[in-house]
Symmetry: C2
Subunit: 222 residues, 2 copies
Amino acid sequence: MDEFRETELKKRISESTIRRLSLYHRALEIVEENGSETVSSKELAKIEKLTPAQVRKDLSFFGSFGTRGLGYPVKDLKAKIARILGIDRVWNIALVGVGNIGSALVSYKEFARQGFKIVKLFDNDQRKIGSNHKGIVVSDIKNIVSELSGSEIEMVVVCVPGSVAQFVVNDIVKAGLRAILNFAPVNLKVPDDVFVRNENMAMELEYLSYALVNNHSKNRVK
Amino acid sequence: MDEFRETELKKRISESTIRRLSLYHRALEIVEENGSETVSSKELAKIEKLTPAQVRKDLSFFGSFGTRGLGYPVKDLKAKIARILGIDRVWNIALVGVGNIGSALVSYKEFARQGFKIVKLFDNDQRKIGSNHKGIVVSDIKNIVSELSGSEIEMVVVCVPGSVAQFVVNDIVKAGLRAILNFAPVNLKVPDDVFVRNENMAMELEYLSYALVNNHSKNRVK
DNA sequence: CCTATTTTGTGAAGGCTTTCACATAGATAA
DNA sequence: TTATCTATGTGAAAGCCTTCACAAAATAGG
C-alpha cells in the first residue's frame, strides 16, 4: 500500500518535485471538472507550463501510474498524489498572531478546501484574547506550550512580527510540533527534525522589481 | 554606475541568486542595527542559514564589493543590493480583489517598509466599490484598463478567485503593465515579456504535510 | 618591514535537475 | 490478428547550481 513512500524507497525526492506534485494535483482538479477520464503528460504540462518529460519523470519516482498509448487515469492519479502529499486527510492547524494577515488566513478558503483546518488561534494582545474569529476564540499566547502539547494540532502558521517570531517558534518546538508555516521575515532556528516553510511576500515583489529594472524579459533581443 | 546591471554584463543570473539577494539585504539590516561597520560572508551566511561560499559567489556576479581580510562594508553593500534589486525607489502598486487576503495586504507593513506602495484598489463587488481601505477608495474593476494605462502604477497584486484571475490579468496586460504578484491558485498565461510571481500558500502547507507524512527529517537515521 | 592571520574572489569539481530520445506497451482500427 | 498509432517510463546527456579549495589581497601585530 505504501509502495511509493519515500522512506521505504530510500530515494531522495527533490523539493521541486514535491512542489510540482501540488501543481499536478491542482491541474487534475481542472481536468476532472472537464469530465475527462484520462490525461496525458502533455496536457498536464500545458496546464502548469511545464514539459511533458518533467511530468513523467516526477511521477515515475513514485510508481507507474499511466497506461502507454492512453495517459493517466485522472481520478486515480489525483488520489495517488493526494496520498503522497498527505492531503488525503484533515490537518488541524493553530495560527499565532491574529493581525492583518493572520485573521485573513483564518477565513482563507483555499486552506479549508485542501483539508487544512485552522482550529486554534493565539495572540499576545489583551484586546484580541477572548475575541471570536470565525467561531474560534483567541487564546493567550502564554499558554501555547500547554495548549499545543499532546493536542490534535500538528501544524502552526506563524503571523507574528519578526522580532518575536523566534520566541513563538521556540514554544512551538517545545510543545513537540514539527511543521511551521512562517510569515515573519526572519530565518527561524529550529532543530533538524522540525520543518519550516517561509512565506515571504515582500521577497516576491522584490523579484518583480529586479525583473523590471533589469528588463529581464524572456524574449528580449540579445 | 550600472556596472552590475545584468543586461550590460550579458550574464545570466539565476532566480535563486536573486532570491538570496533579498535575504542578504534583510540580513544586512540586522547587522546594521547591531552597529557593525563590516560583515563577513560567514556572518551573512549564518544569519540566513546558507554557506559562506554561496554568499561570496552570489555577490561576485555583480562585482567585488568586499575587502579581503576584512569583509563587506555593511551600509555600502546594503545600498548596492538595493540598487541591483531595484528597491532603492518607491514602486506604486495596484491591488485587485479586496477580499480577506487583499485587504490584509493593503495594511501589510512589510510592503510599505520595502518601498512597495499600494495606491489603487479594484473590485467587482458593488458593496465594496467606493468603500475606503486605509485611505484608498475601491474602484470598479470595469475601469481597470483605462485607470492603469499610462498611470504611475507598475505592479499589480492579484487577489481574486482563481476562476476570474485570468480575465483580470488579461486586462492588466492590456493596460501595458508587466509585473504581477498572483495569489490565485492558477497558472496565468501572459506574454513573454510580462513577469508573474505566484504566491501559493496552500502549496506550502502541502509541502509540510508531505514532510510530516514521509518523516522526511533532515537528520534521520539511514 | 616582515610575518601571521583573515577573508575575499573565483576557476574547477562535484552534485543535482531537467531534458532528450527511444524502446516499450497498450490502444485503436480494419 | 496484424498494423499503426499514441503516450509512458527511463537510462543517458546536457545543463545548471553549489561547494570546494586556494591564490591573492588586505589587515593586524609585533
